[in-house]
Each structure stands twice: as C-alpha cells, then as structure tokens.
Amino acid sequence: MTTTTPAPLLAAEGITVRFGGLTALEDVGLSVTPGSVVGLIGPNGAGKTTLFNAVSGVIRPQRGTVSWKGRVLRRHRPHHLADLGIARTLQGLNLFPGLSALDNVMVGADRLARGGPLAMLTGLGRYHSDERRLRERAMAALEEFGAAHAARAMPGTLPFGVQKRVALARAVVAEPELLLLDEPASGLSGEDMDALAAAIRSFRSRMGVLLVEHHMDLVMAVCDHIVVLNFGEVIATGPPERIQSDPAVAEAYLGDTEEVGADG
C-alpha cells in the first residue's frame, strides 16, 4: 500500500451472500488499489471463493455493492470482465485442450484486435494485421513466463507447471488493470512457486492483483495487504507482518500456521 492511498480500482462494500438459510458472507468489504497485491485468505469454507464469485459477477450478493473505478457495477456477468479490464483465472487450469498453447494465449488477447465483424468474416481489412498482432503479443506473453518453447504444443502434452504458465500468460496478455487469481499455486512444485511469486511481484508495475491462496508462504511473500475471512466475516486486515502476529488469525487457523501451509 502506498502512503497516499490512491482511488481503488475495485471496491467491494457490505457484501452479504446467503444460500438459503446459510450465510456465506456477512457485510464483507475489500478494495484493491492500482499496483498493489491484495491477498484473500481464510480456512476452508470461510467464503473466499464466494467473495471472488460475487466480485466477478458469477453470483449476485443480497446486499452490498461492487464498484470498478468508482462506478458501481450492476448486473455484471463474468464475460463483461475482460472489457472492463479485469482478468480472472479459474481454480482449475481451464486451458482450451483443442488449441495450441499459442492459440490459447491468442484467445486471451482477442480484445486487443482492432478489426470488426466484417474483417473476421471475409479476411479483408484488418484480418491479417490483427492475426499478426495477436500472435506477436501472445508470443511475447509466453516468453515472459518462460513458456515460449511450448507455443505450438497442445496443452495436454505439457507438464503441469508449464500449463500453469500458459494459463497465466492467457490471463495477462490483454494487459488487464486488475488480475483476479484463484489459487494459482495449487499443485505447483517449489521451483515453479518461486517463479510464480516473482511473476506476481512483477505485475505490480502494471496492474492490481487480488489473490486467493492457501499457501501462506506465497501469500506472505507477495501481498501488500491481506484480508482474512472466517465464517463469512472479515476477522483481520493489514500488511503481512501484522496478519502473521494477529492472535485472531492464529486462532482461526487453530493456532498452527505450519499446518495451514501444508493443507493447500
């Protein structure tokens, strides 16, 4: 967090979500400013994914608002996010298995194209220059994440760590202003985890990041600000060092942070 808190990119205020009689979230809020990495943590079932889904328009909260650059989002759906400048990764890899790694990233770059429907249908106009631009941008994104050698391979033939990099390249290739990362470290080896941490830190110069993650090491290493959820309520917020020493957080995690790091 910077000292002169700039206007937040994304702000969620007073979010309340109930599934039937069960209250999944109760009056929860968070905000992400440009160039900051915000971590969202909490034990299983704390409501992290529900909050993520409310923010990205998958579910509609009973109360509360989500605003983007000061404008309240009403009735937004996940497919509106890209045009707003928000990218989201899914908990699984969700790569397109029938497309090469490069094509996967080119789908993510789709909104950078300048040609209209006529160009797409006829091959006239900007069709070719768009294809070239998207391919160059996708290739650059793959290079950035060290996956350029896999450009022509089908996702199913790639090691898991490389698939994760392709998915990350697909999410950021269109230069979003905010990146929502849903458990990006799950299934990664230590080496790949370090690379992921480096990547997330490097995003800070270009975009804000909201991160849901189980791996405490990663969260503590990359986040500027952390929001801790437990039973649908915010129990603590602050920079990593304050969260680490917060007794309420330790209690929520049964007082054993080591075990938490291992359960993700």
């Binding site: 996940p78 397109f96 789908v107 789709d110 006829t122 069709y127 060290g146 990547a199």
Partner: protein, 360 residues
Amino acid sequence: MVSLSDHESTSRDKQPESTAPAPTVGDRWRALPALVRFPLAALAAFAAILALTSVTGPTGDLRIGSVGYYMLAIAGLQLLIGYSGQISLGHGAFMFIGAYTMALLVLNQPALPLWLNMIITVVLSCTAGVLVGAATARLHGPYLAGATLALAVGLPALTVRYPELLGGSNGLAFSTRGAPASLAGVITNTQWQAAAVWGTTLIGLVVLATISAGRLGRRMRALRDDEAAAGLAGIPVGRTKVIAFVISAGAGGLAGACQAYLLGTATPSSFTVTLSLSLLAALVLGGLGSMWGAFFGAVALVYVEVWGEELAHALALDSNVANNLPIVFFGVLLILVILVWPRGLHGMASSLADLVRRGR
C-alpha cells in the same frame, strides 16, 4: 522474469526440434495472409476439377459435382460441430431451403443469372439460420440436436402442404441454361455444370476456411473447449454460437442450391432426415476439426454408394440386397475408420503423412 526462463533451458535442450525450427515450405505457406493463401488453393483445386472433368463422361461430371455440393454442406457442418461444438441433426433442412429457393427462382424469374440466384439463396438460408439459431441458442447438446432434428423432419412436409407452390411430393423440375454459347464445343453442358458447382463450392470453402483460420474460428474453438474460460477471455459466447449456426446454415443452403442446379429438380424425398444423418456421418467419417475432413467425407458419401452399386451389379445381386449394399458399406466403413482412427479419414491421412515424414 529472467529466472523463469532460466531453468527451462534444460528441458528445451532435450527437444531440439522445438527451438526456433528453420521455416519450412509449409511454414512460409501458412505465414501468407488468408486472403492470398485460400484463394490460391481454391484456384489450384478448380484447375484440378477442370482437368478431371475433361477426361470423365457426363455421369462422372455429375458425381464430381455431387462431391462438390456435399463438401460445401459438410464443411458448413464442420464449422458448426467441429469448431463451435454444437450438434445439428437437421442440416438437410437448410439444403432443402436452398434447393427450393433455387428451383423457385429459376421457374419464376428465369431472367436472373445463376450467381444472383446463389446470392439470394445464401441470404435466405442465412435468414432462416438466424431465426433457428436465435431460437436454439439456449439449447445445449442433445436438446439442440432434438430441436434441429424436428426441423429436418418438419420442413420437407411443407411441400405437401403447399402443392401449388412447391409441387407436392413430386417436387419441382426445371431446366437450367447449360454452357454459354461462346463455349459450345469447348466444354460439354455437364462439365459446365460441374465447374459451376465447384466454383460456388470453392468460393464458399474459401470463406469458411478464412473464418475458421482467424479470430472467429479461434473464438468458436475456445467456447467449444471451455465456455467459462472463453467468457472470461471476453468472448461473446452466445453471439458466437448463433453466428456459427448462421454461417453453417448459409453453407447448407448454398449446397442445396447447387444440388438443385446440378440435378434440375428439387424433391422432398431428397431432403429426408436420412440426408441430415448422412451428412453428420460423413463429417465424422471424414474427421472432425479440419476442413479436409469435409473433403474426405464428401468423397466417401458419393463414391461408397457408386462403388456399392457397381459391386452389386457385377455380382448380379437381388435388388433388395443391391439397394441396401451401399448403406451397409458406408456403415461398415464408418465403424472401421472410427475404431482405428478416431479422428476420421483426415486423421488417418495425417498420421500416414507423419509416418512418411519420420521414415525419411
């Protein structure tokens, strides 16, 4: 981010063919703009068809023409099923619309040139595609298949409902102008007809190939593979599905118009559910996911029947057996090919090509 690429270099060294391979002829060809590449390929194919029809007789010309319009219909279906992942069991309905549009135009507006008839047919069948596509946009998998099947069953019944306009179960018969007078003696009428059908087919294929090689095709394949991820990438999922449906309806309609033009008739018995299912079977046989699959499927659709009939004739089989032999052949071929090469005849061809390349 340098650290990211560093430890990758070891795995990269193990697979030297993937590190910046020297551009092959194929790579250079693929780097050409679609607007250059596909028309050039179509011109070469057209020249091949002209050469082929110059050595075949009228029956051969008719068969080659049939491969043409079936290929166009199957290629449209490829875009819908192979690329955008939507199942249609009713593609024959759009061929029906195209064939009757062509027949009615020739009978009622004989002064119109052939190319204008073709354009009117495409516009009409695309309009039908918009109506059906918008109505079925919310249907998935088996529900979409059921809805399109109902269309294929119901639409040809219109001919019996409006016999004055559509000629009842006998359909509409008409005669088209053959080769222009200036070409008399150079090419025969059937050669001209086959060339006209293939010219139309190849123009249609150039459009379909351009679409599927570009952004729109990539959007379709993305939503076929994972709708949620495609939506998050900003792809308009619903709209792209309807567009795929409309384009394939247009291709089906144009194929129907070519069929009516080639045969000089449009009869309801040509557009039964069997036709729709045959198109689907030919697509699977040819191979899903590549426009080449449409070519192999169309060749199989026409020539398995021809060879089956010839075999029955040669063996002097009973007519009950002879009539069903081509269907049995097609079924056995479909089962065998799919068992051995799940990606169809195109998959077989590309794995053979791989073998040859590796053996070199």
